[in-house]
């Protein structure tokens, strides 16, 4: 009976951590999406200073977040996001609008992929 109770506690802990992790990831990713949209708008207006400020903020936040996300996601995918962010920064520094916009799109797709990857739906289950 002790083992059954222990198993029940583990089950509850697993479910709770899944719910918490999903909620936490969604919250963090939403704030990232907002900043990426801001970068995109600044790039459209060719406001390089504003873009640079934003990418530096995102980069700092990403360093913190990626170490937390590494608990749940493939480290390779997170590294790819970091690489894309570094490329975006370089393109902004070089005032390359088209390339920078492309990198923002890749980042947006990566962020979207992270949220969709762990959500419970038919596509992911099968």
């Amino acid at each position: 009976m002790k083992t059954v109770i222990f198993a029940g506690v583990i089950l509850i802990l697993i479910i709770m951590s899944i719910v918490f992790a999903n909620f936490y990831i969604l919250q963090k990713v939403d704030s990232f999406k907002t900043v990426l949209n801001d970068i995109s708008r600044a790039l459209e207006l060719e406001d390089w200073e504003q873009s640079m400020e934003l990418i530096e903020t995102v980069e700092g936040a990403w360093d913190k977040l990626s170490s937390q996300l590494a608990v749940f996601f493939n480290h390779g995918e997170l590294r790819d996001m970091g690489v894309t962010m570094a490329s975006l920064k370089t393109y902004i520094m070089q005032n390359e609008k088209t390339e920078a916009m492309a990198q923002v799109s890749i980042l947006s797709f990566g962020i979207k992929h992270i949220t969709e990857k762990d959500s419970i739906n038919i596509k992911n289950i099968f």
């Binding site: 083992t3 059954v4 222990f6 198993a7 029940g8 583990i10 089950l11 697993i14 590494a70 608990v71 749940f72 996601f73 493939n74 480290h75 390779g76």
Partner: protein, 200 residues
């Protein structure tokens, strides 16, 4: 490399805990479902050990989930006979009174050679010596020999000794009775002879 080392220690300890919680059965005594779970756990533990790019949680969460399912399922099996039969199946009688039950063997796809091998491993070279041959749910064959082929056990020896003692006692009583009867007959004869002498 250091990460692999640390991860291996963590997963090794985790697997020990999980296997310990799951039960004490030996590998040879595992039910098919338990064997499958054991293989899955070993596989799940091995992947994050080698691949440092994969988060440790992708190994830990499924291992704990399997543990939870295994414990809860075995608890349900213990409480419910129907569920137990559905998950573990029922034993099959393959030999009855020295004869193979071919239909039953066909239904579980158990061939003659396997059966004879199991019989020999149980110490019976001749199928005619077997009263019941039952294939258990863990894949082992239980052999119940015919009465005349059952090995001698302490109980049999005790019964034999008891019977022998009873026989000896009966014989002794009989001998005593016979001796008494003979003595009485002798007495009667002597008495008769004495009476005859007196009459004469």
């Amino acid at each position: 490399m250091a990460i692999s080392f640390v991860r291996t220690i963590i997963l090794y300890l985790l697997v020990i805990i999980v296997v310990r919680i799951m039960g004490k059965r030996q590998v040879g005594e595992l039910e098919p479902i338990e064997l499958v779970v054991t293989i899955m756990i070993s596989e799940l533990a091995a992947i994050p050990m080698q691949e440092t790019g994969i988060p440790l949680t992708t190994g830990i969460v499924p291992i704990f989930t399997l543990l939870v399912l295994e414990v809860l399922l075995s608890f349900t099996e213990m409480k419910n006979k129907k569920i137990r039969r559905f998950i573990k199946g029922v034993p099959s009688i393959l030999i009855y009174e020295g004869n193979m039950l071919i239909e039953e063997m066909k239904s579980i796809r158990f061939n003659r050679d396997d059966l004879m091998e199991e019989l020999r491993l149980s110490g019976y070279a001749n199928i005619a010596d077997v009263q019941y041959g039952i294939l258990e749910t863990n894949g082992r064959l239980s052999v119940i020999p015919k009465k005349e082929n059952k090995p001698l056990v302490q109980k049999d020896i005790d019964t034999m000794l008891q019977q022998q003692q009873q026989l000896t006692e009966q014989m002794q009583k009989k001998q005593k009775k016979e001796q008494e009867q003979k003595a009485k007959q002798k007495e009667r004869l002597i008495k008769k002879q004495l009476e005859n002498k007196r009459k004469d």
